[in-house]
Symmetry: C2
Subunit: 556 residues, 2 copies
């Protein structure tokens, strides 16, 4: 406790704290031994805790967390689809609101295009469509009648939207045209699906904009990328590396792709966070989206286009990085319940009058805390022990547990336990209005710092090829000098297949455990030490000079 | 002008006002004669106004308004689908936010279920599914592979969601379960489609809840219906009649349906506004959603369920009722731009210095008005005359036009024109912070009152059968004593087919112009004069006694 002692002597306080802590530990232990509900109804039989540790079986641990924290339900009717439950939708809506406000300020407007696209539009942009063709879901029948022309469910909306951009953009006065939609798209992947990370239908936003010049388009690409980084860093307390995708990994049919890349410490894999693409003039040429050159009458300019998307994948990344063996750990900024207040120390033999008085005090505390803007709730469910409730809220990731019992009342304090570190302490009642919001701020920052430290430590700058595979096997991603050649990148992948991976493989690991590394991005923030024309590409089978430091890793 | 004159003499002011008004009228007239842009770029050729009056061809007028006000674009790739453009999405988002806040307060949580459903779930509830079967879109192929089991795109989500309600609801402690989702659904209708009113894909919210008792379910049905009425009355400035659907018209598979019903004065048709259904125990029996009776151990209760939905149809109803021959007329509460400030009186020969000074003053005014919370924008587009701008903003329905020129500056006033009535006047600059918000409130109320008066006058309580068809032909809906028999209702429809309808029929009128009347609802607010067991059903071919006053009409 760094809180200064208020009235009672320091030693008395310390003693009391110790007693409180020991009681809580005892309760927790009891709850672990039998983490079951203690009362009637069918629920009594349920083990609510996570049954496997994050270290022993990460994929299974992840499945249990998203299921038991009630974020996800498997849609058993059709494989590869998931139901997003309120615990997930709340987080998505916080992100949506945050992002929406900011793109509105940029002048992006909302639209909604149909979910189907016809073959006609699809045929326009071959490079783009080839990328999606194997995953298209085709509607061929309505009722019992065959459709004359089958229609596909959108896997993304470039081909749906751009014929109308050609119609709407008729003068440079119509630029920039900046539209965004919040929807879901369908990609009927053959690969193994994983909740949030890879699903056959997923929710996202897709922004599609058109600009007069490359410069204006490029400026927006980076502004949006910075918002995506903000979603990770500011809301989800997750570090990301900003960069550009290599030619091998860029968006099909685009000009260049910028990305924010994350890192999953448990298996050392990189994961693409969100991408902001400059499409260049590739699509505007296919869809004939032109304006008259404002500087040279009679000449026509193909507009410069961007598209950018952020999906519910972000939630999965957050769960994987912050979660622990007790379940979900939520950063306060995106938690629906930031603090859960649990009455303790009330037993069956407590007099009815005392019970009522205590309940009143708890409700009063809740109101005081709520007034400070903290999203607080009380758990006054009858028939569950405090220990059972502790476990339940820990599983659900609530950042701060507050306990209040007769002993706390006597000492005029509230006891707390941080979800992220388990740290316990007390706050004088007179100070809860300032200390609780502060503590939530501290938790948010600590969660970011912990994840950032881990990513920093596992992002190895290497200049010796022999260290690459051991680094990958040690759950690192690597930053190496690379020539950026497409064939070289394929070769690097082949050369980095390993047989030494320690990580046990569960059903969500669709690739071989020893998979080769892919390029994640060319970081904007380039380390020192690469001399153009002197530094060689690190791939021992490549004779080219290095162009950039490139981040590679085994990845999702 | 009811504004008190400020400094100059009354007569001087009046003179100035008259001059201003005449100038404006002259400008408007000029604009009408050539409602085209006056400058370079392709847009010069566009006629921006509506080319047909609401009275002479209502369906065509409607199409022009939603297209030219840029709410809708026809999705020409696949018929029956529409693109919702920012002007429509803004309104939908205002409604969404308003409704979402209120259901959140009620304890409804957000969810997102997959868009596809399997045959297995579909087969569970036959009465329900038979209603939708002919309109189901079937995905049978992915990429070039046939799906083993085809899946349908949801037409509504009862059959998607309720298998999971059976899983999640295991004790009465899990009740009420109240979930809502914002999504789009697909009903591949054979009927003629109309923007907003009937589309093969449409956006809506669908709430699905489960309760322990009929009483609790019933209470929620009405709370939600009242919110739907609020969307119409408070946001869209549209009156509705609250009531219950007859057996013929209730939701397929449900117990009873409550509804808010609107009225389109231009063709005298009724239109269903939004419906809140009590499903009773019909679905819980099919999907086996039960809890143990809290009052009688060992007994099981099938839960009581509701479902309720509000769609983008509301926008179409609003356009049809408030729009006029100049285009859209938006109620201030849902208008993205509530007031458009247009600099006037600046001509080519105005000195550059004066121009700059005036522009500065206009910007200052905008800031002052914005500070009051009014959504105000300025139209400082170069190369367009004020008259062209007036037409453009009238077409787009902006509730209040503000004009500011050197003459206004001299008099320290701002001139305004109301979109709903065309009324013009001036406001002293010193009073704009109070008067402009007031004026927007006045417009909102006046629009509601006008529509309410029209609905009141065309909702005829009839007790003489011979007056029914003439009333329908006179663009009224009727409230008549009815037995509520299903066959009788069919018969009433046959008997009220008419050959006298004056309304010209356009492409969006899918039924014969002389269609028979359907029951719209049994109004909650029952008129006097019906004596149970004495008053006969008004259908001359029915011998039964009347049960209720029932509202009938030709309808969408």
């Amino acid at each position: 406790m760094s809180e200064p002692a208020a009235e009672p002597s320091k030693s008395a306080l310390k003693k009391a704290e110790k007693a409180t802590r020991m009681a809580a530990q005892k309760a927790e232990k009891a709850a672990k031994q039998a983490s079951v509900a203690v009362v009637g109804g069918k629920k009594t039989d349920d083990i609510i805790g996570i049954t496997v540790t994050k270290a022993e079986n990460f994929p299974l641990w992840y499945q249990e967390v998203v299921l038991k924290a009630e974020m996800i339900e498997y849609y058993t009717e059709i494989s590869g689809f998931y139901i997003l439950r309120p615990a997930a939708m709340y987080i998505w809506n916080v992100i949506r609101k945050w992002f929406q406000e900011r793109i509105e300020d940029m002048g992006v407007e909302e639209t909604n295009f149909p979910m189907f696209l016809s073959n006609k539009s699809l045929e326009r942009e071959k490079a783009h469509v080839d990328g999606f063709a194997p995953e298209l879901a085709w509607v061929t029948k309505c009722g019992d009648r065959d459709l004359e022309v089958p229609v596909a469910v959108r896997p993304t909306s470039e081909a749906v939207m751009y014929p109308y951009y050609a119609k709407w953009i008729r003068s440079h006065r119509d630029l920039p045209l900046r539209l965004n939609q919040w929807n879901s798209v369908v990609r009927w992947e053959a690969k193994q699906t994983t909740p949030f990370l890879r699903a056959r239908e997923f929710m996202w936003q897709e922004g599609h904009t058109a600009h007069l010049t490359e410069e204006l388009a490029g400026k927006e690409v980076l502004e949006i990328l910075e918002l995506y980084a903000g979603v990770y860093e500011q809301l989800l307390a997750l570090p990301v590396v900003r960069g550009t995708k290599t030619e091998n990994e860029k968006f099909a049919g685009g000009y260049y792709t910028t990305t924010v890349e994350g890192y999953i410490p448990s298996n050392g894999r990189g994961i693409q966070g969100a991408t902001s693409h400059c499409l260049g003039q590739n699509f505007s040429k296919m869809f004939e989206i032109t304006v008259e050159d404002p500087n040279k009458q009679g000449d026509h300019i193909h507009v410069w286009q961007n598209s950018w998307g952020l999906s519910t994948r972000v939630i999965g990344v957050m769960v994987m990085i912050h979660g622990d063996d007790k379940g979900l750990v939520l950063p306060p900024r995106i938690a629906k319940i930031q603090a859960i207040l649990i009455p303790v120390g009330i037993v069956n033999k407590t007099a009815a009058e005392d019970k009522a008085k205590h309940a009143e005090k708890v409700e009063e505390l809740r109101k005081t805390i709520k007034k400070t803007g903290v999203r607080v709730d009380t758990d006054t469910r009858d028939g569950y022990t405090p220990a059972w409730k502790f476990n339940d809220w820990e599983l659900k990731g609530v950042p701060l547990r507050l306990e209040f019992g007769p002993k706390d009342a006597a000492k005029e304090v509230i006891s707390y336990a941080r979800r992220d570190t388990g740290e316990k302490g007390t706050i004088p009642l007179a100070e809860i209005s300032t200390k609780i919001p502060q503590l939530l701020g501290t938790i948010q920052k600590a969660m970011y710092d912990k994840a950032d430290k881990s990513f920093q430590e596992h992002r190895l700058k290497l200049t010796n090829w022999d260290e690459v595979v051991p680094a990958l096997d040690g759950k690192n991603v690597v930053i190496i000098p690379h020539c950026l050649g497409m064939d070289c990148e394929d070769k690097v992948k082949d050369l980095t297949v390993s047989k030494n991976l320690e990580q046990p493989e569960g059903p969500d690991n669709q690739r071989a455990p020893s998979m080769g590394m892919k390029s994640l991005c060319i970081p904007f923030d380039q380390p020192d030490g690469l001399v153009k024309g002197e530094t060689k590409c690190l791939n021992p089978e490549c004779s080219a000079m290095a162009e950039k430091w490139c981040m590679f890793g085994r990845s999702y």
